[in-house]
């Protein structure tokens, strides 16, 4: 977004700035993402490796945060968003190594925040089954983040592919794709979710499919619009007049130029997806107990913690979700602000 255009003398480049090449950034993201997602997807199947797999992700998250912080330091809004999001990312990758109480072990039910039982302090109290709320809140972010990002990514791949085809090839392709997109968009999102999950069954993969069905049409619309604009540019004519295949034009010539607005939209959509997944879990349609999950925590608490004094059981996961979504939204705002400035 804000790569320096003016040549800077090599000596002035710090190590961090030198790390800001697309290649190292992708490597860092993978280093963070692959362990985290495999930990969440395969969990117990990893066996002995389970304890070690998240270790390389910790420095990757920290480095990414510092790099992004420096790059976006001009926009305070983006920095606040970034900090919120990376806080939860850090919690997700460090959860196994933090001195936390086992989130699934019932100890003493309905303990108030700050109370101590058998020498264990429950800083945020325990829930109705006696599990530590703090540990559950921290562990809970793993599933939300991993499934949220996976679902958004999936929606983007599908939406972008159809958007490029509809926008660039237009004609019948556009008619058919736009028709289906309009049909999908005309369903209320929740109805769509319930339909998909009831038909396919409740699992993480099916949540991804449901989110893709709900988000891809809107993404396709955005990409289609951008493509319609960009395809009239001379460099697209230049590619056409040297006989390039449409696939090459779409992937190499068009795709990199639609990414700007898409990145902003992706940040916002990550927020929506997080809401959607939490809502689904709350409705009992999503991920299943007993593993901690924010949506699940809210659901359980709303059923059993009816007294005002136990509202902390609701407030902690609710605030966690809100802060993550706020982080994504602020990042989107900051990015948009920065892209408008230059």
């Amino acid at each position: 977004m804000s790569v320096a255009t003016a040549p800077t003398p090599a000596s002035a480049l710090s190590i961090l700035d030198r790390l800001r090449t697309p290649r190292t950034l992708i490597a860092l993201v993978l280093l963070m993402w692959v362990p985290l997602s495999s930990y969440v997807f395969f969990g117990r199947h990893l066996g002995a490796a389970q304890d070690l797999v998240l270790l390389p992700a910790i420095p990757a998250v920290l480095l990414l945060y510092i790099i992004a912080f420096r790059a976006w330091s001009e926009s305070p809004i983006a920095v606040i968003g970034l900090t919120l999001v990376f806080f939860w990312l850090l919690m997700a990758v460090t959860a196994p190594y933090l001195p936390l109480i086992d989130p699934n072990r019932p100890i003493a039910p309905f303990q108030m925040p700050g109370s101590t039982v058998d020498g264990q302090t429950f800083w945020l109290g325990t829930d109705m089954r006696g599990r530590d709320v703090l540990a559950r809140a921290i562990w809970g972010c793993q599933r939300v983040i991993v499934w949220g990002v996976t679902a958004t990514l999936c929606a983007y791949v599908v939406g972008t592919a159809f958007g490029l085809v509809a926008g660039y090839l237009s004609g019948w392709w556009d008619e058919i794709i736009s028709f289906f997109a309009n049909v999908l968009l005309s369903f209320p999102v929740m109805v769509l979710f319930i339909l998909v999950l009831n038909y396919l069954g409740q699992s993480g993969v099916n949540i991804v499919i449901a989110v893709t069905f709900a988000s891809a049409p809107a993404i396709m619309r955005i990409v289609r619009g951008l493509t319609l604009d960009i395809k009239t540019r001379d460099y697209i004519y230049a590619a056409q007049t040297r006989g390039e295949h449409p696939t090459y034009i779409m992937l190499i010539e068009l795709l990199p130029n639609v990414r700007g607005p898409l990145i902003v939209d992706a940040c916002l959509r990550l927020g929506y997806t997080t809401v959607a997944i939490t809502t689904l879990t709350f409705l009992g349609l999503g991920l299943q107990p007993p593993d901690p999950d924010w949506g699940l925590m809210i659901r359980e608490a709303s059923a059993s913690a009816l007294l005002w004094q136990f509202s902390y059981m609701l407030i902690v996961p609710a605030l966690s979700v809100s802060s993550l979504i706020l982080g994504f939204n602020l990042m989107a705002d900051g990015l948009r602000e920065m892209s408008l400035r230059d």
């Binding site: 001379d234 004519y237 230049a238 007049t241 006989g243």
Partner: protein
């Protein structure tokens, strides 16, 4: 003569923009005195601060712009001390502005009549009916046909030229003392532009309005203004009467500007264009001393690059000031550009043959909900016939909608012909879309595009984009050899080799266009189509890019199809010219034949419309009225009959004009008698009376 109060006076005006990067001086030490009824031209390239001056006069600099020094007096009162309310009263009533893009100046959701009536209602408290009456009269006085209809029309329902007339009418409605025109005709076609220029001159005669005319086109300034300010990088470098500045310019930059535009005396063989080397400095990278010295031929170390340089009176002509320390010492006569020694290129065999080529589009008239209905045929190209030879430059001249871009698309294989043939060698390309052509054929036919900011993909490096072409056409396959060829191509277009690693946004417009040229020549093409390759560039860069294109063409013996609307550029570089109007060829012949009588009436009008920045040239005024007819509904007979001053009633509207040949290759499609065509007077005359300048007559 008594001293009248100047309408506007700028004294040592300095304007800065405040950005994150700090203070950026946009205009420095600017002086201007505008007397009542006077028209003052400000000329300069993009980024020289001419629009900033206009915005400052409107006191409309935006949040981050501020006048940091000097005085700005409007009728003797300093505008900087006026309150926001006073300024609002002045804007739009005492000072009015006309912008470049007419569509952006009009509110698309309001009827024109209502927008115009707002002016008297707001500024004078006129009643709505009276205001509407005034609007009607004003539309009539800016020569709009059927003003009643236009009053009830929305802006999108009238053409660009008409829109600009409406904007001018709106500016004049409040009887302004000062009219600011910021490139008012840049977005318009040449023949439409000529009409607007005529209107502006009429306004200044009839209404006595003082005007500031901002333009990059010296020819337009010559036709409209009394005095001129030449600006360079935020400074006025030369101020004086039009005559003085045009004939006795005393600043090297002014001279550079004049020698980089093609004047009637310039010929690609006898009198080549001389480009100003280098490029405009960015505002925060301006050099010390004279801002122009890094590009100046008369630079002297120690004098030009130190201290602030003040404007000084030259003594040539009245009130002629120049910002140069060396103007007295420079021998202005001796330092004329030298003629090109190289022999003219001989044209070879026919490379491209276009025979009875037709391209029609079928469009369906569809309402919002009901599809179907009538189909209409748009005849984008109708019976095109011409040839282009090896190493020859053929120019296709015409205004927007004349079908030149459609023709380029057919040639490049993006569209297919409806009838007739387009032969490259012996191969008929007309019905072979680009996907079905083999790499060698595609490589033989390449294109240089118009918009430098669009021609390169912003996401890929310059080198990568050229390499892709080399790989695609199979010129080289080895990775090292491809890189070598990329470097060689960058050498040819005179760009440093390390540009291969840069991204397009790090390049200036001219540099991008050079890369575009390198890309077009990567596959050793036999024919290159250049679609207005320089029209979006700054004047001083235009010459360099034009020269470059000509040089490469000469070295590679490439055929160049040069599409343009600018007859002066075309005259400079073309061997033969094809004049098109609404999809049909009106006239074709060698450059000499086109520029000398007999003319097609359209060619005559086009020649007369092109502004020429030379006081020694006399142009015969041939004004054509009206606008281009819609391509969906062209006249039955001759397409030009709706605007032609010689139209023969009952014949031109109904019958297609016969093609009359005057010499081998010179053909005119017109109904007029042969004798009448031959009797035509030349449009462009040099003041001493000879029909055309055979030798150089460029003023010193």
């Amino acid at each position: 003569m008594s001293e009248a109060t100047p309408v506007l006076e700028c004294r040592d005006l300095s304007i800065s923009y405040f950005t994150r990067a700090g203070e950026i001086p946009a205009v420095v030490d600017f002086n201007l005195k505008l007397m009542p009824g006077e028209a003052h031209g400000i000329v300069g390239e993009s980024g020289c601060g001419k629009s900033t001056v206009a915005l400052a006069i409107m006191q409309y600099l935006g949040q981050n712009g501020r006048i940091v020094g000097g005085e700005l007096l409007f009728e003797g009162r300093d505008m900087r001390t006026m309150s926001e309310d006073e300024l609002r009263q002045i804007r739009g009533s005492a000072i009015a502005m006309v912008y470049q893009e007419p569509m952006a100046s009009l509110n698309p959701s309001m009827k024109i009549g209502d927008q115009l009536a707002e002016v008297p209602v707001y500024h004078e408290g006129a009643s709505p009916d009276a205001a509407r009456q005034r609007a009607l009269e004003m539309l009539d006085s800016v020569r709009l046909p059927d003003p009643k209809r236009i009053l009830d029309a929305y802006p999108h329902q009238i053409s660009g030229g008409q829109q600009q007339r409406v904007v001018i009418a709106m500016a004049l409605l409040s009887n302004p003392k000062l009219l600011l025109l910021d490139e008012p005709t840049t977005a318009l076609d040449v023949t439409v532009e000529a009409g607007i220029v005529e209107l502006i001159n009429e306004i200044s005669r009839n209404f006595g309005t003082s005007m500031i005319y901002i333009s990059h086109n010296l020819g337009l300034i010559l036709e409209t203004c009394h005095r001129i300010t030449v600006m360079y990088s935020g400074e006025a470098v030369e101020v004086g009467d039009i005559e003085t500045v045009f004939n006795n310019m005393r600043h090297p930059y002014t001279r550079g500007l004049f020698s980089s535009i093609p004047l009637p005396g310039a010929d690609k063989n006898e009198h080549p264009l001389v480009a100003i080397r280098g490029q405009l400095p960015l505002p925060h990278e301006r050099p010390n001393g004279c801002y122009f010295w890094p590009r100046c031929d008369f630079y002297e170390a120690g004098r030009c690059d130190e201290g602030a340089i003040r404007m000084r009176e030259t003594g040539v002509g009245s009130d002629h000031f120049v910002r140069c320390v060396r103007f007295e010492e420079i021998d202005w006569e001796a330092a004329k550009p030298k003629a090109d020694e190289r022999p003219p290129v001989e044209a070879g065999d026919v490379v491209l043959r276009v025979e009875d080529m037709k391209k029609h589009y079928e469009i369906e008239e569809s309402a919002l909900f009901i599809a179907g209905g009538e189909t209409k045929t748009v005849k984008a190209n109708e019976d095109l016939n011409f040839v282009a030879r090896e190493a020859e430059t053929v120019a296709i001249v015409g205004e927007s909608g004349c079908g030149k871009s459609t023709f380029a698309k057919v040639l490049m294989g993006l569209e297919e012909t409806t009838a007739g043939g387009v032969f490259l060698g012996n191969l008929d390309l007309g019905n072979i879309p680009v996907q079905k052509r083999d790499a060698a054929t595609i490589g033989k036919l390449q294109m240089v595009f118009q918009n430098p900011f669009d021609t390169l993909n912003p996401s890929h490096t310059v080198g990568g984009q050229i390499a892709r072409v080399i790989k695609k056409f199979g010129v080289e396959t080895d990775k090292a050899k491809i890189e070598e060829r990329v470097h060689k191509l960058l050498d040819i277009v005179k760009l440093p080799r390390d540009f291969a690693k840069r991204r397009p946004r790090q390049l200036s417009g001219g540099q991008k266009q050079r890369v575009g040229i390198a890309r077009a020549f990567a596959g050793n093409p036999a024919l290159v189509i250049a679609d207005e390759p320089v029209s979006a560039l700054d004047v001083s860069v235009q010459a360099a890019v034009t020269e470059l294109l000509m040089d490469i063409q000469r070295d590679h013996r490439t055929t160049l199809l040069f599409i343009s609307h600018d007859l002066s550029v075309v005259r400079y570089l073309a061997d033969r010219i094809v004049v098109m109007y609404l999809g049909q060829i009106m006239e074709q012949g060698t450059t000499e034949e086109i520029f000398a009588p007999p003319y097609h009436p359209y060619t005559e009008a086009l020649l007369s419309a092109v502004p020429i920045a030379d006081t020694h040239i006399e142009k015969r005024k041939v004004l054509i009225s009206g606008e281009l007819p819609s391509a969906t509904n062209p006249p039955q007979g001759c397409p030009f009959c709706t605007r032609c001053p010689y139209v023969i009633e009952g014949l031109c509207e109904t019958e297609k004009p016969p093609i009359q040949t005057f010499s081998d290759g010179h053909a005119i499609a017109c109904h007029l008698e042969r004798e009448q065509l031959e009797r035509m007077e030349p449009v462009i005359k040099v003041a001493d009376g000879s029909a055309r300048p055979e030798t150089e007559t460029v003023p010193a």
